[in-house]
Amino acid sequence: MALLKSSKIISTVWVHPPLGVRSIRASSWWSEVQMGPPDPILGVSEAYKRDTNPKKMNLGVGAYRDDQGKPYVLSCVRKAEAQIAAKKLDKEYLAIGGLGDFTKACAKLALGDNNEVIESGRNITVQTISGTGSLRIGANFLSRFHTEARDVYLPKPSWGNHTPIFRDAGMQLKAYTYYDPKTCGFDFQGALNDISKIPEKSVIMLHACAHNPTGVDPRPEQWKEIANLVKKRNLLVFFDMAYQGFASGDIDRDAWAVRYFIEQGHNIVLSQSFAKNMGLYGERVGGFTVVCKDAEEAKRVESQLKILIRPIYSNPPMNGARIAATILNTPDLYKEWLGEVHGMANRIITMRELLVANLKKEGSTQNWQHVIDQIGMFCFTGLKPEQVARLTKEFSVYMTKDGRISMAGVTSGNVGYLAQGIHAVTK
């Protein structure tokens, strides 16, 4: 190696700039760049962090907490990590579409064992950067190839990030009635009315379970009618399933709507996230599935998804997908996982019940039944923005302006305090 010379690396020529050089470009390229507003959801956590009140509560982001208010690393995840470490795998690039062991298991989890779609090979499932990445790839794909319609219909309300994602991908956003603020429940008739007017071939976004932010899900018989109407209208269904297992505690029950639609002949597109149900938030584990007409079409779609992915991040991160694949593909880990998901869902259900009980104890005369009826991580309390502002300012309870709270942030230790605060701003 001493034999080799490279004239480029011989000496460091350090040139000190003449004194006047800084004034040559006194203005900046970025003088016109405006300060961006804080993210409405993630910004809540930042504000919470800055608060010094020892009783503060973060009910903003949907990240699960145990009953001590601590992040919860699933036991099956730790076991999977240990197994993976023992294998001493290399770190070579994954394929653009991700880890095969993961994508196959991901599709199976959503669609069910022995599903006709998987057996005939007419789905393409790619690994994505969690749910956001999946939605973005989906939005890009629709924007490029679903040229008959540019409109995506979101339920009113929907996850705050849906709109900017689709908009940035070049789609137009519209809405259909979903939440009924009078009942804090599902406005079924309103939804059917709006859906019946959606122009053919438009994209309709459906939350598979545990609707975010309201926690309000259609009942099975309502899903059936929606499926029927959507078919009549010839709409392209985009399912967002970020909480499979988290809603009812049962993986299959939570995927029921997705599976029903497919059975009824809808060739859906589907986003899945493993952030919450496996607690793999920061590892960014997700999947995007297109259910195609046949295997040949699936191959063509796959090739185009790769073309979309490559200029964004080339190929996806290994760590989380490897953990998820290990859990899904190892029977006793899978079983343990089902138990842990069930446990997380149960804790949330218990907190819902405790919150209502405490509100009654505080003397609240409002109807809080919706807190128990709603499902999943979030609860649409029905609080108005001014009430939310007071709750944050006077009680250091952090939540999003729309009145959404993450039940996962509630513990048996702080549910009483929360009830006090909510009662104080609503009495």
Binding site: V15, W30, G279, G282, S303
Partner: protein
């Protein structure tokens, strides 16, 4: 009737197809000189010893979990990664005008930079701003900027095929004639695919023109440490441009120098005029991140942060990097020596003059096809070879094959 009935089959990404074809080749003598990943002398992937060590540290630390990182990523990763590029004592860092966005690999960093520039540079949403990439360049550069919305992506002269070196006059000429405010993607070191870097004096000339003509500097730094074996030497160009007062972007990848390919560890370092401009830039970067991947993956960034911020581990990492660079230098020397000994027609000095993982052999497409079909040696149609694919065991076969190819195929 399917909604996707009209979706055409896309052509596969060339470099991955090459690896696929290699996998399916039954010839026991086959050699893969395609994908840009490091290989040991046994032809195996190499997980850096320091990486194995830090992984154990992470596993043993019960205070760690899998919670979301902030939108812009792990702070201790971002700052230490920027220091690697700009130097510990960088005045720009001391002046609080350096920021960073943790991204998914070098690709993700280029993507974020491109998206930001399209929205906020040279007016708002000015998709007509020309983006210049070297001729040739990494095949994904074009797609990254095109997908970010830029409509006018042009080559700047770089590789002189005849003299097998840098076309400096052509490069400077394109800089002089580029419309003001054009964006130039510069390879910080170990140019991909040619392995040909400007000298210090040549970089100074490039910088002079870019400053005078108000061109935007966007460095792609995917091989820091890998080129010469020394981090500081490989960062010379980036640091020089900082001293010249540029506001600039530097997309960093830790795929190769940390061997963390599949963990997608990258960093977009931003050098701004002052901290106020920086703050606003970062706030807008957050919005772009949020609609693309929300927040970046934690494992790889944590690993790099621990390594860079722990003195003994940092020293060990630098050693690991140097050993990779040294093996590449050894293979360059061996290949050149063997071709000279065989008296293969042509000059082969470029093999040792070029730097980094890749070498632009000068083989033409017909010769490349011959190498693949007749010798089961897989390289890119451009004639690019990955030096890491060479080992002491296969180098004779490769040298003989190049010889036979050059002699028999024109």
């Amino acid at each position: 009737m399917s909604l996707f009935g009209e979706v055409p089959q896309a052509t596969p990404v060339a470099v991955f197809k090459l690896s696929n074809d290699f996998k399916e080749d039954a010839n026991p003598k086959k050699v893969n000189l395609g994908v840009g990943a490091y290989r040991t002398d046994e032809g195996q992937p190499w997980v850096l010893p320091v990486v194995k060590k830090v992984e154990k540290i992470i596993v043993a630390d019960n205070s760690l979990n899998h919670e979301y990182l902030a939108i812009l990523g792990l702070p201790e990763f971002r700052s230490s990664a920027s220091k690697i590029a700009l130097g510990e004592d960088s005045p720009a860092i001391q002046e609080n005008r350096v920021g960073a966005v943790q991204c998914l690999g070098g690709t993700g960093a280029l993507k974020m930079g491109a998206e930001f520039l399209r929205r906020w540079y040279n007016g708002n949403d000015n998709t007509k701003t020309p983006v210049y990439v070297s001729a040739p360049t990494w095949e994904n550069h074009n797609a990254v900027f095109a997908n970010a919305g830029f409509e006018d992506i042009r080559p700047y002269k770089y590789w002189d095929a005849e003299k097998r070196g840098l076309d400096l006059d052509g490069f400077l000429g394109d800089l002089e004639s580029a419309p003001k405010h054009s964006i130039f993607v510069l390879h910080a070191c170990a140019h991909n695919p040619t392995g040909t870097d400007p000298t210090h004096v040549e970089w100074m000339q490039v910088a002079e023109v870019m400053k005078r003509r108000k061109l935007f500097v966007f460095f792609d730094s995917a091989y820091q440490g890998f080129a010469s074996g020394c981090l500081d030497k490989d960062a010379w160009a980036v640091r020089y441009f900082v001293t010249q007062g540029f506001e600039m972007f530097c997309a960093q990848s830790f795929s190769k120098n940390f061997g963390l390919y599949n963990e997608r560890v990258g960093n977009l370092t931003i050098v701004a005029r002052d901290s106020d401009n920086l703050k606003r830039v970062l706030s807008q970067m957050e919005k772009i991140v949020r609609v693309t991947w929300s927040n970046p993956p934690s494992q790889g960034a944590r690993l790099v942060a621990i390594t860079l911020n722990t003195p003994e581990l940092f020293a060990e990492w630098k050693d690991n990097v140097k050993s990779m660079a040294d093996r590449v230098l050894l293979m360059r020397a061996s290949l050149q020596a063997k071709l000279q000994a065989l008296e293969t027609p042509g000059t082969w000095d470029h093999i040792t003059q070029q730097i980094g993982m890749f070498s632009f052999t000068g083989l033409n497409p017909k010769q490349v096809e011959y190498m693949i079909k007749e010798r089961s040696i897989y390289l890119m149609a451009s004639g690019r070879i990955n030096m890491c694919g060479l080992t002491t065991k296969n180098i004779d076969y490769v040298a003989e094959s190049i010889h036979e190819t050059v002699v028999n195929v024109q």
